[in-house]
Symmetry: C2
Subunit: 409 residues, 2 copies
């Protein structure tokens, strides 16, 4: 995973995370919600940060999402995030809501700040009350120096994840170095529309809140909302961005000459985190990327990409290294998008497998070999227009069934 | 499976099939598309029958569907059906279309009837040309007495199916005995909107074509379109009904006093065939039935039922006998239907697991034991109105992955 790539303007620091931008600290500990693994984490900014969030569209929104949305709405600012794993605090009624408020208030007290500056997020089992004695004890200790470590934070937010997920980018805006860092979790119940997916993005940029929110929404639609593991949209999905302004650039708005650089940086962070979630899909052995080009709209291209990436039959074929273009074409056909069957071209990696309404002449063994790679790329050209979209997912394996026939989410 | 139940008006004959109604014969043989199993079948009516069909909504409709739709459109009549398994004749371009016409014409010649009175249907691998030498040879032999057997027909239409699927009902209309028989196939790529699902229904009723079609569409929406195995809608799904009138009842229309009896009979046949497909879903160990009541519309109730029955997480939980109501509630929440979270009641079998926005007090071991049954019933009461819908599916198992990581559809 160690990798530093750069465009002319943006340096990608794959090892970076939420504490790379100026003025942020993060930490994590074991407070006892889970049996052994870390289960409580935080991010704190030195100063109140401009905040924006996107939240699950599931009608059963978990209690912490209600509390966080209400708090962000107050003055579009956050200074801290408290997060637990192991318990989603979802479908927990009035008591669950009280518990989320308690987590918020207690952590605010430890920090000496107002409660609405603290976001509360939870992920884990649905429908069990939070073990508040353990959580409360944890909150009083978590700011101790021994727990202050961004690595501990990344561990503390995981559930069925097999690895931590983080990235960062740096760019120059107004001659100032601006950084964006991110960390996320998610492995199952992943089909975000704005999954049990949590994303935390920090930046030291000085930025106008409404433009930050607009950028986050647009970027989320192209990144987090374009991944799927199992087609299930969780009750707890949330992505939060904090921008504390400590880079001291003049305020970014969509009219700022370097706006596009910032937005591109934000997209790079969100896309990297989203792809890491897809790659770590429950039981997955491969990352699958579906690029759809030549559509009459971005939404239509997204719908075609999501239909393919969501197909259990495509996913099992990829697991079985079977160049089964028929299943890809079938998924395109039921995507709901009025495509033109004879105009479509489908490629698996460098190999064209379907064109002019007919299977192409390809060497089965070559495509089978390609399908043994870690990252599988499928390209669909619709030949209907200029719009494109990319979706990410994973293969469907025996281990997905194993994990979900036994793990209680 | 042997079982004869009866309401006051309709006798269900589980052992019956497409040749129970008067004037139909059926048969099947091995012509060589598959290595060993039967792969070519037919149904023939003594006289031309009033016909109605429903077809896949997948944009990539297979060649035989194009030919059959065109033929039925001519005078709403069919006298014969020729069907092969092992090759779907889908994504096969101009040649595929020519091959479907050839099958139709050759079988019509054998029967001495006009070509448009023959429906052509295919199921199997996508994107390979039909081995027409074998098919043509088969068509010239299949009417031989040795192949005339309704049991051979039911075998000849199967692909990954593990069992034959058929049923029949009998009722009295105008003092005449009227029968409806059906046979179907389907196991994977099943999420019919109008699946690789084929359904054949025969009746000796005398019935007006437009009313037969209206009844078939309505019944299909409540039966075949309410099942899912893997969420993938095939290129070849089709249900055909033939009504040859040999029962000699006065013509059925929706204004006939006994119309409701006929329609109920048709629904019983289609529902039985649909449930058998769901139960025989690839790798499935259980039939899952989701009943949604108290909705503001039938479409909304259907959407909630389909969201639950389609959830990989619900399906794996049932396989794992895990009373995971949280995944059921999550699926309701992303169904797109504006439900009222606190009004919903969810039961697994006789056990209420969720009510008033909170998990119910249930004994985990009792529900786990229930989940070991062959047929699992989930009931969701939405408390928003008077409409209801039922959806059927199956659990998601290791064997689903195994079958689909290796079998080429």
């Amino acid at each position: 995973m160690t990798q530093a790539t750069s465009t002319s303007e943006i340096v990608v620091l794959e090892e970076g995370s939420v504490t790379l931008p100026k003025g942020y600290k993060a930490g994590g500990m074991h407070c006892g919600i889970k049996r052994k693994r870390l289960d409580l984490g935080y991010i704190v900014s030195e100063v109140p940060a401009t905040a924006a969030g996107v939240y699950t569209t599931n009608i059963f929104q978990a209690a912490p999402l209600l509390v966080t949305q209400e708090s962000v709405a107050k003055e579009n600012k956050l200074q801290a995030i408290i997060v637990n794993s192991g318990n989603a605090n979802a479908c927990t009624g009035e008591q669950g809501l009280l518990d989320a408020y308690t987590m918020q208030k207690d952590f605010a007290n430890e920090l000496g700040i107002e409660a609405h500056l603290v976001a509360v997020t939870s992920t884990g089992v649905i429908g069990e009350l939070m073990p508040m004695d353990k959580v409360k004890a944890g909150v009083t200790q978590i700011l101790n120096k021994e727990y202050e470590n961004e690595s501990l934070f990344k561990e503390a937010i995981l559930t069925t994840d097999t690895c931590v997920k983080h990235t960062a980018v740096q760019m120059t805006i107004d001659g100032k170095k601006v950084s964006i860092g991110g960390a996320s979790k998610g492995s199952g119940m992943i089909h975000p529309n704005m999954a049990t997916m949590l994303g935390f993005v920090t930046t030291d940029a000085n930025i106008a809140q409404e433009d930050l929110l607009a950028a986050l929404r647009d970027v989320t639609n192209q990144t987090f909302n374009m991944i799927t593991v199992d087609g299930d949209t969780s009750t707890n999905d949330m992505v939060l961005v904090l921008a504390n302004g400590l880079a001291e650039n003049s305020q970014l708005t969509k009219d700022h000459p370097e706006w596009d650089i910032f937005k591109k940086g934000l997209k790079l962070v969100c896309e990297s985190l989203a792809k890491k979630i897809a790659r770590d899909g429950e039981g997955a052995t491969k990352l699958v990327e579906v690029q759809v080009t030549g559509s009459y709209s971005r939404n239509a291209a997204s719908a075609v990409g999501k239909a393919i990436i969501s197909s259990n039959l495509v996913k099992t074929a990829i697991y079985g290294t079977d160049p089964n273009w028929g299943r890809i074409v079938t998924a395109i056909g039921y995507s709901g998008v009025p495509v033109e069957p004879n105009a479509i071209k489908v490629a698996i990696g460098p190999y064209t497998v379907f064109e002019n309404g007919l299977p192409s002449m390809f060497v089965e063994e070559e495509v089978k070999e390609y399908l043994q790679l870690d990252v599988i790329k499928i390209h669909v050209e619709l030949n209907q227009g200029e719009f494109s979209a990319t979706a990410w997912g994973c293969d469907l394996t025996y281990d997905y069934v194993k994990i979900n026939a036994s793990y209680r989410t």
